[in-house]
């Protein structure tokens, strides 16, 4: 069994860096822990869920996907390829790793997105099993587990009461990573820690059933009233993947950019005519919930929510998908049951 002292994660990062990997990991800046490129000396924070998700490594907020040079009244295309250096993503949470199934599916179901795929191929993911779950966590309600990361290349499992991390390679890339880091890994037994209890739970089956028949429920209006219509939840979400394409032009040429976009923003579905098929926040919030818990499972057989709880942590108004799911589950409680039913 290969393991690593929990306080030597930086050494692991340094070893990988030396082996030619670009390392991304939870690092802190200005009091905020973010998934970001690691640089020597930076502490890797395993005690916090980063504010952004692993998604950013494969699908950054903005990237250039095309370039053209002006030529008279026309343009000459310049080949634009993704920047995809060999990368090791360290200490990603199981819920973030779980979202890769959604991203892989959506970026490859028809058109194969070479920018996403190139980075996906160039990146090895070493997940970190959770040792704690906070009140926003709900991975177990959406089919996840805090202590397993299917889809990762390796798993770092806390052991010996958090002092040690057991390194479990899961794929060949994971084994390459372990090999590259062999200098900092040690052999020997360690007692894996018990997974944390995820206290928050709702019945996803009941939610799904309710969604199927309640597109026009007045509950959407009530649930969405606190929503101010920003994209904080979507951008923090490991599975949200909407984007907008913008051309920025100048006298010398044009750059085509792919920028994140979000269904919560009022302009998301605004037509040039001025018509907006999702005219209010209720229909936008419904879309977000439906997409995650109904449309994506139906279309890709994967949930677009992995229970990471980030939406609840970043929302300026304290809304969260879990809150909504719980309300729906409650609304879906058998209406004709003994509790609410007509006395026999």
């Amino acid at each position: 069994m290969k393991s690593l002292s929990a306080d030597r994660l930086q050494d692991l990062a340094a070893a990988l860096s030396a082996a030619g990997y670009r390392v991304v990991a939870p690092v802190e800046a200005d009091g905020v822990v973010r998934f970001a490129p690691w640089s020597p000396g930076a502490a890797i924070r395993t005690d916090a869920v980063p504010v952004n998700s692993l998604k950013d490594v494969f699908f950054p907020p903005s990237e250039a996907i095309g370039r053209w040079r002006r030529s008279g009244d026309g343009f000459d295309a310049i080949e634009t390829r993704p920047e995809a250096p060999k990368t090791a993503a360290l200490a990603a949470r199981p819920c973030d790793v779980a979202a890769l199934a959604m991203l892989d599916a959506v970026f490859n179901w028809d058109f194969r997105d070479s920018f996403y795929d190139a980075r996906r191929a160039a990146t090895v993911v070493a997940a970190l099993a959770c040792s704690e779950a906070d009140e926003e966590c709900f991975c177990t309600s959406v089919g996840g587990r805090p202590d397993a990361a299917p889809g990762a290349d390796a798993l770092l499992r806390p052991a010996d009461g958090g002092r040690t991390l057991i390194v479990e390679p899961l794929t060949d890339q994971g084994r390459d990573l372990a090999a590259a880091a062999s200098g900092v890994l040690q052999d020997g037994a360690a007692a894996p820690d018990a997974p944390p209890e995820v206290r928050r739970r709702f019945d996803i089956g009941r939610v799904g059933a309710w969604l199927a028949g309640n597109f026009d429920s007045p509950l959407w209006k009530e649930l969405s009233l606190p929503c101010l219509g920003c994209a904080a939840c979507a951008y923090a979400c490991p599975a949200c993947h909407c984007f907008d394409i913008q051309d920025e032009s100048g006298p010398n040429g044009v750059v085509r950019l792919r920028n994140w976009d979000a269904c919560g923003l009022g302009l998301f579905t605004l037509h040039a005519s001025g018509h907006n098929p999702r005219p209010d926040q209720a229909s936008r919030w419904r879309q977000r919930v439906m997409h995650k818990l109904a449309y994506a499972p139906e279309r890709f057989k994967v949930a677009a929510c992995t229970g990471c709880g980030r939406c609840g942590r970043v929302c300026p108004r304290g809304m969260s998908l879990a809150d909504t799911a719980e309300r729906i589950a409650a609304a879906a409680a058998p209406a004709a049951g003994p509790a609410a039913g007509v006395p026999a």
Binding site: A64, R67, W68, R69, I78, E79, T80, R81, P82, E83, A84, P85, K86, A122, E248, S249, G250, N252, G253, V254, V255, L257
Partner: protein
């Protein structure tokens, strides 16, 4: 298009005073540095802060804003409105790294051709001394549409 290393100065001027002042510099054959590019507006009051941000974004080494002297505005008070705007904007830009060497304000009347020429020469000299802004410009767009090395793959690996 300008010579390599020459500073780029974007000037936002009003039609009635400073543009005419620049005309007078011309009719008086006053020589000044050729790096300035004038964008003519009806009034300094028309100049949105976004014009200035956009000029810096595009790589201007300095921006000049110039119009009628206080009290002389063709539209009576456009320049007063503008002055209040700049009183705040220049402080904000300074705080975030675009200091007063890069952002110049001046009142130049239609009669002040000499002042216009002197100002352009001074500003050009000042900007030359401060050096090119590209590296330190926080507003700068760094999205070369046709970067020299972009002829081939940009990946190192």
């Amino acid at each position: 298009m300008s010579q390599a290393g020459a500073p780029r100065i974007t000037a936002f001027v009003c039609n009635w005073c400073t543009y005419a002042g620049a005309d007078l510099a011309g009719t008086s054959r006053l020589q000044y540095a050729p790096e300035v590019r004038i964008v003519k507006l009806p009034c300094t009051g028309r100049i949105s802060p976004l014009f200035i941000l956009k000029a810096f974004e595009g790589g201007a080494d300095a921006v000049l804003v110039s119009g009628c002297h206080p009290g002389d505005c063709h539209y009576t008070s456009g320049n007063y409105h503008a002055r209040r705007r700049w009183g705040l904007l220049r402080k904000l830009l300074d705080l975030t790294g675009i200091d007063s060497r890069r952002l110049q304000f001046s009142w130049i009347s239609a009669a002040e051709g000499q002042k216009f020429a002197d100002l352009i020469n001074d500003l050009t000299a000042k900007v030359r001394e401060a050096g090119p802004f590209a590296g330190a410009n926080p507003a700068r767009k760094r999205l070369a549409p046709a970067p020299e090395e972009a002829q081939g793959p940009r990946r190192e690996s």
